[in-house]
């Protein structure tokens, strides 16, 4: 994967997070958590090279996704 594209994607996701952080409510919180997941996945796939090991990527990203859902649930309660 092209490193420049990953970097620009991460900056775009950071900008989207900043823009969304001005909102409030459960839907906005879900968006913020989803953006965090996308950033984490980009770092793991692109910078940590897990795109070369898709099964291991799933092994790392699935628990992360479930944890982020848990965090969202705790804040949405």
């Amino acid at each position: 994967m092209d490193l420049h594209r990953i970097w620009l994607t991460l900056l775009a996701l950071t900008a989207a997070t900043t823009a969304l952080s001005f909102g409030s409510g459960a839907v906005v919180a879900a968006g913020l958590v989803a953006l965090a997941f996308l950033k984490a996945r980009a770092i793991m796939s692109g910078f940590l090279h897990l795109d070369r090991a898709p099964e291991w990527r799933t092994a790392f990203t699935l628990p992360l996704a479930l944890w982020l859902v848990l965090i969202w649930g705790l804040y949405a309660l």
Binding site: I43, W56, I71
Partner: protein, 178 residues
């Protein structure tokens, strides 16, 4: 799924997984304690400087990009470019810490200490422990820049990406989800 399919040294992945677990446990504890006082946590969180966290995210992902470039340059045998990009990655870490110190100083000037509210106890512990990893990571980048062996640079860069990864994951519970 075989252990040898993992990129780089398997031990670095054990470290990454264990660090993720530690920070996830701390952030989950914070979210759980928040349930006892949601309004207090939201009021406390609103006093943080979110723009500094956003700036630090941009700094850290850019620094991670430099570490990834260093890893690639080292693999290609371009030692000069590898050293330069490792130095830029470490400089990003120094920039991150400078912003973090400025943020802590502003918090403390506003009277927001470790015991002001349970939120700030978690805030200082989680972000402080992360900052300690950034400081350690700068040292790791400096060390791997001395010998510039490809496998060592990859391990150093992986540690740095883990620091980056932890930051983007602790950002929502600490700064964003009120």
């Amino acid at each position: 799924m075989r252990i040898q399919d993992l990129p780089g040294e398997p031990v670095i992945w054990v470290l990454i997984a264990s660090e993720l677990l530690v920070f996830a446990a701390a952030a989950t504890a914070m979210a759980a304690v928040r349930l006892t006082d949601p309004a207090g946590f939201a009021a406390a969180q609103s006093q943080l400087h979110g723009w500094m966290a956003a700036l630090n995210t941009a700094i850290l992902v850019t620094s991670g990009f430099c570490a990834a470039l260093a890893e690639r340059a080292c693999r290609r045998g371009d030692r000069r470019r590898a050293r330069m990009t490792l130095a830029l990655a470490a400089l990003g870490g120094v920039g991150f810490l400078a912003v973090k110190i400025a943020e802590y100083a502003a918090d403390l000037r506003a009277g927001l200490g470790l015991e002001t509210h349970p939120f700030f106890t978690f805030y200082y512990l989680i972000t402080g422990f992360h900052a300690a990893h950034v400081l350690f990571g700068i040292g790791v980048l400096a060390l791997v820049a001395i010998r510039l062996r490809a496998e060592e640079v990859q391990a150093g860069a992986a540690f740095w990406h883990m620091v980056d990864l932890v930051w983007v994951l602790i950002l929502p519970p600490v700064y964003l989800l009120g």
